[in-house]
């Protein structure tokens, strides 16, 4: 039977202003996890009942650990940021479907925006061939060396121009004439929508990892839907980000919202 586990925290430290990296001892999750999946973290504060979905940033199957990178944006992530080495946190996972990796693709474009970046790191570890990673941030890039150490070419855009290109990630991609066989992207919906349009006009297949507010995280409550339409369908459907996603083909997603 599946169950929520109490996972021991090996490390929990700030890596950029308001951005934390947490390593959890979680053998069962590490064993099963694939890039693009996420976990539910549960709060200790009794006022906060719902799990916080956080993408798996790195999976270490030998050590039985997973790494999460999260931004402090509210009370739940604020609580997590206070946890210390040796504390435990309740966690459930791996959840969701993860990226679908096609061994035939040899030239990869990986696009991350802000806290959408972390799940792409584990993905890149699984990609073979040429990899261009385009990352957009407000001011503080994260994980740059990590991507570079995997042999990827990293291109950075910051909104305020504090690092490298000033502007958004799509502008950067256009400027650098990004090209490849496939795109993997994770980030704010508006960014994904823009990159999706670019991918369509350049006829490059693209997988996107979506976010939505969740209650159960396991597909039972139908709370976390996105509008989708498969080619073969006549009508659009509300599908579950937690169970049918978080990764979808960009052509399935209806971006109108």
């Amino acid at each position: 039977m599946k169950e929520i586990k109490h996972a021991m925290i090996q490390e929990n430290r700030m890596i950029a202003p308001g951005m934390y990296s947490m390593t959890l001892q979680a053998e069962d999750i590490a064993k099963l996890a694939k890039p693009g999946q996420f976990v539910n973290l549960y709060c200790k504060g009794e006022a906060r009942l719902l799990p916080r979905p956080i993408s798996i940033c790195e999976i270490n199957k030998e050590e039985g650990t997973i790494n999460l990178i999260y931004a402090v944006v509210g009370k739940g992530t604020g609580e997590f940021s206070q946890l210390e080495e040796g504390d435990t946190v309740e966690v459930l996972g791996p959840l969701g479907n993860g990226f679908m990796i096609d061994e035939n693709k040899k030239k990869h474009i990986v696009v991350g925006g802000g806290v959408g970046t972390p799940p792409l790191l584990e993905l890149v570890k699984h990609l073979k061939g040429e990899i261009d990673v385009y990352l957009g941030f407000r001011s503080y890039p994260i994980l740059v060396e990590d991507f570079e150490s995997l042999g990827a070419r990293v291109h950075i855009a910051t909104e305020d121009g504090s690092v490298d290109f000033k502007g958004n990630v799509l502008e950067l991609m256009k400027k650098e004439n990004a090209n490849g066989d496939i795109i993997y992207a994770c980030g704010p919906k508006l960014m994904l929508k823009a990159v999706s349009e670019w991918a369509a006009s350049n006829d490059i297949p693209m997988q996107v990892s979506l976010e939505e507010r969740m209650a159960c995280g396991i597909g039972a409550c139908v709370g976390c839907v996105c509008k989708t339409k498969k080619k073969e369908d006549k009508d659009w459907q509300h599908r579950k980000v937690c169970k049918d996603g978080p990764v979808f083909w960009h052509t399935e997603v209806i971006w109108d919202e």
């Binding site: 719902l50 799990p51 459907q237």
Partner: protein, 304 residues
């Protein structure tokens, strides 16, 4: 006294549940996801998410907002329609030794009757008539807030259903006993309460409601005092079995509802925090019975 000697059976509309613990519709799907966490055989019944005659798409996202000790949802009864439900979910649930309660939704009396009719030929145990969903504009909530409409829809669904009918009441009313009595006049074999309160949450940074639908159904531990009060009032006003729900997450919570007069209880939002919540509630009920020398819940039901 030990677990073996406890008599946990309860009866609703002639159907015997092995124990009083079921789940709140919409929080447990059709049990498939939770069957990976708990043994469904241990539940008195599985109450499935609301089904309607045709497929419903539900409301736009975001559909979920967290509140202090509770949550809001505006799912809006997304479901694949009763036919797909019968085909896909009933065979799955029938593999387990538990009763099946099917929550039904409609926008008109005809739609409700249509679902009930289609379910009459299906292998299920009880129908739960949802006249109280705050997330559906047409019908839904009006049936639950107007005694006349509550009576009419119950009467018609009873006429079209081969299965006993439990009517699920909305808490968003001035006088719950009035609606409870109307449902009984319509022929209800039992009552479920409460459905969600109508609530709202605002994102002060985006300066707009968190839910795309603006308002949503409010559930979870926060609402328990209202639920308990209404179950108490309804149990005093009518004599059919009541499935009590609203914020139950422990055995102690469940006992409160039984003392207030509930025959069975349902675990809802608690499933999201703790996928084993139903089992914890069941164990808690048993522990309470054992440590208080209670052989059957009949000894304490409604004694308040």
């Amino acid at each position: 006294m030990n677990e073996k000697t406890l008599d946990l059976k309860v009866e609703i509309g002639g159907v015997v549940l092995k124990n009083p613990v079921t789940v709140a519709s919409g929080t447990f799907g059709s049990g498939r996801e939770f069957s990976e966490f708990i043994d469904l055989n241990k539940l008195g019944a599985v109450t499935v998410k609301g089904v309607s005659s045709a497929p419903w798409k539900g409301n736009p996202a975001p559909r979920i907002a967290e509140t202090y000790g509770g949550m809001l949802n505006s799912v809006g009864l997304q479901n694949p329609g009763v036919e797909k439900f019968i085909k896909n979910d009933i065979p799955f649930l029938r593999e387990y030794d538990t009763k099946i309660i099917v929550n039904i939704a409609g926008k008109t009396i005809e739609e409700y009757c249509d679902v009930a009719e289609k379910l009459s030929h299906a292998d299920i145990d009880l129908i739960e008539l949802n006249i109280s969903c705050p997330n559906v504009k047409e019908g839904g909530v009006a049936f639950g807030t107007d005694p006349h409409m509550a009576r009419e829809v119950t009467k018609e669904v009873k006429r079209h259903s081969k299965h006993p009918v439990i009517v699920k009441l909305s808490p968003n009313v001035t006088d719950i006993t009035e609606i409870a009595k109307a449902a009984i006049e319509g022929g209800a074999d039992g009552l479920s309460l409460i459905n969600t309160l109508l609530g709202m949450a605002i994102d002060i940074h985006k300066r707009k409601p968190i839910l795309a639908n603006v308002v949503g159904g409010f559930s979870g531990p926060a609402i328990k005092p209202v639920a308990l009060r209404m179950v108490y009032q309804a149990a005093k006003a009518v004599s059919v079995p009541i499935i009590g729900m609203g914020g139950i997450s422990t055995g102690e919570d469940a006992i409160e509802f039984i003392l207030a007069g509930a025959t069975a209880i349902a675990v809802g939002t608690a499933n999201f925090r703790n996928p084993k919540a139903t089992m914890d509630v069941l164990d808690g009920i048993k522990e309470y019975m054992i440590s208080n020398g209670i052989k059957s819940l009949n000894e304490i039901r409604g004694i308040i």
